[in-house]
């Protein structure tokens, strides 16, 4: 069983479209994250949710909207996609947002905007 699963794994779409990436974790964790990894492999946090509440919201364009229907799911919706949105998006989870708890990552969703 995959602990953190995200879909789709690959997504190619045109500029201006709206797309969503779904994430689910079956680890019983209460904190979930979205990270963006750009072409230079730099990994940067975008959002973090704890028990369905937003606790971290980095400087991310408003076109990105996370939604957490329950603590096992954290979806990412992106409106009006731009070329610069092309990246690998990683969902992750941990038990608690602090105390050094290990983050478990999904396999990533490779988004290409053309």
């Amino acid at each position: 069983d995959t602990a953190v699963s995200q879909t789709p794994k690959y997504l190619v779409t045109q500029m201006g479209n709206d797309k969503s990436i779904k994430c689910e974790q079956n680890l019983g964790h209460d904190t979930m994250y979205w990270y963006k990894q750009d072409s230079k492999k730099f990994l940067k946090i975008m959002f973090s949710y704890n028990n369905k509440e937003l606790i971290i919201n980095e400087t991310v364009p408003n076109r990105f909207s996370p939604k957490s229907p329950d603590k096992a799911h954290l979806n990412l919706h992106i409106n009006s996609l731009e070329l610069g949105d092309s990246a690998v998006y990683f969902c992750a989870s941990s038990q608690g947002g602090g105390s050094g708890n290990t983050i478990y990552f999904g396999e990533g969703s490779w988004l290409t905007v053309v």
Partner: protein, 116 residues
Amino acid sequence: AQTVTQSQPEMSVQEAETVTLSCTYDTSENNYYLFWYKQPPSRQMILVIRQEAYKQQNATENRFSVNFQKAAKSFSLKISDSQLGDTAMYFCAFMGFTSGTYKYIFGTGTRLKVLA
């Protein structure tokens, strides 16, 4: 602000040899956590090893060990008996309290290639 620096963008090592990846960080916190993550070509991020800052003993996990120097703010990863499957990007990560919440901060990664 906390920062994590990995000064070696790429490294290579012969199979069965030992290699050390460097990582330095900057923080004013006293309690924090440090991690090494591995990202193979499959892209999945996998935890390799973690270290609590309050522990003086260096963490070890089989062939992986760290040299944690708190005063120098250094956290290097040593891989012994390198295997072809160790070929991957390696990310150093710091977890501490910043801007009112706990955050992970990742370094820019070191691409390690193990040569047959």
